[in-house]
Every structure is written in structure tokens, then in C-alpha cells.
Symmetry: C2
């Protein structure tokens, strides 16, 4: 993937603050960065726009896209499907854009399986107690939902060594800054460098 | 090397500006960083201080240290010996300090052989033409020395893929900033992380 953009997988338990950190990263640091847009079969909510928040497709069209291998990964969540569109992501990378996929661990692992060169970052809250507090504090979820999220978070944390990097979200700006550093560093990797050393030597 | 400092090898052809970039890095960014001090058999120059610029030792003592395995690597340059003292570096790392070794490629490779977890960074000037200009522009060297330096640089650049990272020194502040990012990113690597995830989950 020389000369092309970086593909970045960002995951983390709900309550880790992935979305907020990604928005801060896009806002403050990296002008060359884009958040990937998922395809979903769920209905648009008020204020959501096609091609901005999601690509909205019906279930038949989604099934066809699955059939035709148009997703890097997809998953069913409750009654709806969500997928990462391969062509959309590839064309951004070809244009030299760095693309963030904010997806769950299972999806993240599928992406790494297809794109070995993807960079995977797992965001965690400072403590598990803080995670509990954040999930409970939302006040929008039932006791059962809270338990499920905590159980999922607990299980995921046992597999966090699947990821390349872990960033503690103790402070949103600080976490975004660290991710920005990870992207800067990865661009300096010899294995990704677009410097032609043979040409350089003759220059 | 969990919980300990990072060992950083910085190399690059003469004229790449390694020294200037390292000083900028120490000055502006990373308070936890130290430049390693080499042992040498050469006589102190005016203004050089024992334990600040070098550890000055006579040839017999240097030979004894080689014999006793007290160097991570050592080399003969012209008529003098230079070595990286193992105990000095190890005790800094144990204290949690990040330690920079500013050494040549041959030394760098020896360090990587002993410390697999060392981070290696190769600094290059923006173009080879610029490197020529910088080496020639010093005005302190003979035609023969200039030729030798250019030949060495040319040869080294053929082996630069031995390094983890390459940083183009187009601007001193910018190059120092990139190295600072590399260190930040490396500290977020799961493989170096000092987070105890089992403990975290129970917390």
C-alpha cells in the first residue's frame, strides 16, 4: 500500500469515548483523514443524511452487496445490518486519504484479516470502574442493556492483544493527540515509506 | 522490557543533521529522554567534560571492558575506540528513562541484535544533493574525506531497510516532532504496554 493512505481500525468498549476522540482527531489534527461511512439497512433517524452518516440501503440491496463481495466486513446488530463498503474505502485510500473505520472488535479483526497493513487501535477508559460509570451514567439504557455492555466490554478486553496499539482515553484531546502521533509514526515506517532509496541515492 | 524506558537507535549519514535533531528533541519535547554517553579512548577536547560528553578511558581499560563484555557495541574509528556502555544504558532504562544511542549503522545493527525491542530510526536529508552540499559546505574537510563520507552515505542508504523508521530532516523542528511522535506511538504499542488487562478488568 505504498504511496496510499493509511487504513485505521478504531475499536473500544462502549463508554470508551471512541466517537468523541475520533471527532476531536478529525477536528484538531489530521486534515488528510476521513471517517468511513457504513452501509446500513436501518431507517434514517431525524437529521441523518444519506452519504454523510450512512449509506441507507434496503435488505435486498444489502443482501446483493454481500453476495457480490462488496463489503470488507458486515454484521447484524439487533434487526439491522451494517457493512463497510470495500470500493468506497479503497477509492479513498487510492486518493491518499487516511481512512478511519470505527468498528467493533469482531469487525476490526475481519478488516485486519483482509488488510494486513491496516493499523488497529483499541481505545480504553482510564479504569474499568470509569467505564461502568460512563455506561450507567448515560441513563438511556435498561439494567439489562447495561449488564450486556459491561459483559461485552469485559470479554473484549481479554482479546485486546489482537490490536497494534492501545490508547487510554483519560482526556479527549490527549487521546486524539496520541492517535495523531501513531499515524505520523506509521507514515515514517520503512515498510510504508514511499521514499525510493535507489532513486534518492542517484539524486 | 515492560514498564521500562525505550532504547532508541538514531543513525544517518554525516550531514543528515542527527546531532541537531537530537538536541532539538531533548530541548523541546521529551523530558524523559536522555542521550547515552559513549566510552572513548580519544583525549578530551577543550570544553569536553568526563561523564557529560564522554567517559574517557585509556586503551588498557577499554580493552578490559571489551574483554569483560561491558559494551553493547564498540568500534574503532581512525586510531580511537568508541563504545556504548551496557550497564550505564541498562540502569537508565530500568529507571524508566528513554535512552537515545546516536550511532552509525553498523553499531545500530549490533544494538538491534542484542536488544530486539530497541527502536531504530534513520535520519536522511531531503535529497542526496542536499547531503552533498551539507558535507561539502562544512569547509573543514579535505576532498578525500568528503568523497569517503559520500561513499559511506551512498552505501548505507542501500541498507536503510534494516531500520524501523525513516525520518526526513527537511526541517529540524519538524524532524524532532516526528521522532517524538514515534516514541509516543511506540509507548502505545500493545506489545510494550504496561497495562495489566486482567487487573484492569477487575478494577
Amino acid at each position: 500500500m505504498k504511496n496510499k493512505g493509511l487504513l485505521i481500525v478504531i475499536s473500544g468498549p462502549s463508554g470508551a469515548g471512541k466517537g468523541t476522540v475520533c471527532r476531536e482527531l478529525l477536528r484538531s489534527f489530521n486534515k488528510n483523514l476521513e471517517l468511513s461511512i457504513s452501509v446500513t439497512t436501518r431507517k434514517p433517524r431525524v437529521g441523518e443524511t444519506e452519504g454523510v452518516n450512512y449509506f441507507f440501503r434496503d435488505k435486498d440491496e444489502f443482501a446483493r452487496m454481500v453476495e457480490d463481495g462488496e463489503f470488507i466486513e458486515y454484521a447484524k446488530v439487533h434487526d439491522n445490518f451494517y457493512g463497510t463498503p470495500k470500493n468506497y474505502v479503497m477509492s479513498k485510500l487510492e486518493d491518499g486519504k487516511d481512512v478511519i473505520l470505527e468498528i467493533d472488535m469482531q469487525g476490526g479483526m475481519k478488516v485486519k484479516h483482509v488488510f494486513h497493513e491496516a493499523i488497529s487501535i483499541y481505545i480504553i477508559p482510564p479504569t474499568f470502574a470509569e467505564l461502568k460509570k460512563r455506561i450507567e451514567g448515560r441513563g438511556t439504557e435498561t439494567e439489562k442493556d447495561i449488564c450486556k455492555r459491561l459483559k461485552n466490554a469485559y470479554e473484549e478486553l481479554g482479546h485486546v492483544n489482537n490490536y497494534d496499539y492501545v490508547v487510554v482515553n483519560d482526556d479527549i484531546k490527549n487521546a486524539a493527540k496520541k492517535i495523531n502521533c501513531i499515524l505520523t509514526a506509521e507514515k515514517c515506517r520503512l515498510s510504508r515509506s514511499n521514499i525510493d532509496f535507489d532513486k534518492f541515492r542517484e539524486g
